[in-house]
Symmetry: C2
Subunit: 244 residues, 2 copies
């Protein structure tokens, strides 16, 4: 893990950028920790949404919330093709009012194994940090954060709980639908009932297929990106139940 640039601190939250050598390319990430902290603590991995990056507003907001309120460590990495990993030749067009783009779905599906490998190496290297250590592990990622996150969570038994959602089965052969039955940790699953990218029935099908006995679905009216702040509070409470 190579830290890049100087750490910055905002209202008690230290932000450090890093690069890790991934399977196929460098993986850029950010880790947030409480100021002047030492010793192991709960760690939450945050997978950002399609077209976003490791420091998009809701990722930053969630990270700061979990560090300030709960004293956790939080990490985000750019998804394949996103943020500092974006290629010049492919835009991350995740879709429009006519639904999620087939090209986007195919791109994400093709990158799922690589992302699981990337998260795995990032996790291993984070465990070496004095102020992260070997604490309980959670995952938070909706939309593309679930497309990449469900396979990672299914493959990573040390994940104690996961917030997923804003995604559906779409078809039965994509990596997140295939992985869902192998997830066994407690899950909070978010749904937007007027989601222009993911039909409600498809989201329900994905939720139903998750293997976990302990799972709940929270749904709200509104579009894909209109998840209310209430669910950030619910996420925080959910992590508190399972990580602390």
């Amino acid at each position: 893990m190579n830290f890049t640039g100087e750490p910055s601190t905002s209202h008690g939250v230290v932000e450090r950028r890093f690069d890790v050598d991934g399977e196929r390319e460098t993986v850029p990430g950010i880790v947030w920790t409480p100021e002047a902290s030492t010793g192991p603590r709960p760690l939450v991995l945050v997978g950002h949404g399609g077209g976003g990056n490791k420091r998009m507003p809701y990722v930053l907001s969630l990270a700061r919330r979990l560090v300030r309120h709960a004293g956790y460590a939080v990490v985000a990495i750019d998804g394949v093709g996103h943020g500092d990993r974006a290629s010049a030749t492919r835009t991350a067009d995740r879709g429009s009012g006519e639904g999620i783009s087939r090209t986007f779905v195919a791109d994400v599906a093709a990158a799922a194994d690589a992302m699981t490998a990337d998260w795995t190496v990032v996790l291993r290297e984070l465990r070496e940090l004095d102020d992260v250590g070997d604490g309980p592990l959670g995952y938070w990622g909706v939309s593309m954060g679930t497309m990449f996150g469900a396979p990672f969570v299914a493959a990573t038994p040390e994940v104690r709980c996961a917030v997923l959602g804003l995604m559906g089965t779409l078809d039965d052969t994509n990596p997140w639908s295939t992985a869902a039955p192998a997830i066994s940790c407690p899950v909070l699953f978010l749904v937007q009932l007027d989601d222009e990218l993911v039909p409600t029935e498809s989201a329900l099908a994905l939720f139903r297929s998750i293997g976990s006995q302990d799972k709940r679905l929270h749904a709200h009216p509104g579009a894909h990106a209109a998840v209310p702040a209430e669910e950030m509070e619910a996420s925080e409470a959910f992590f508190a139940t399972h990580l602390t």
Copy 2:
């Protein structure tokens, strides 16, 4: 309001049985309040489920929780045809694995106006009690508690928030489906995804039709009666947000 019998007290919760003169018959109820309390406080009306009564286990448990944790007053009344209002000639057969019984739906639908009138008179008389008074008002009722509750909530603007659920549109002409668009207070709506009485799509349709801008749906795997304790905690938090 005629109190019947002596009050009983359990772990700080005073339980008083009463009768009120309803539109067509005597309405028996129970009010729970904190021991040695005076002055107005939030009041939650609890509508029990089909085949149950005003003191069925989850009603009693919810009432004690809200009194002990939050200091509210809580009231429940027997629904038409239930508890001390059960007639000898009609059993409250709410249905089986083959879905909700048509006879039950018809009976409840026919009694909805009477139940709104009953709740209205009970509410008016409760307001006279020293330890209830004119505090903020909430409603909690799922299954039959929604069949009777949605029309009451829609007709009662002083209800500040309502927990509803375990019910669907079933058809478009019943009183709860007709009333739902007129509900405008914040709503928490509970769904069981393996509900043997209410299909998920029907529950979603009822939730979508509720007029409130501020509404959320919490869904869990499991049968109609298997709502997890987590949703009692969520109900308590929801009331805390809107009543205190």
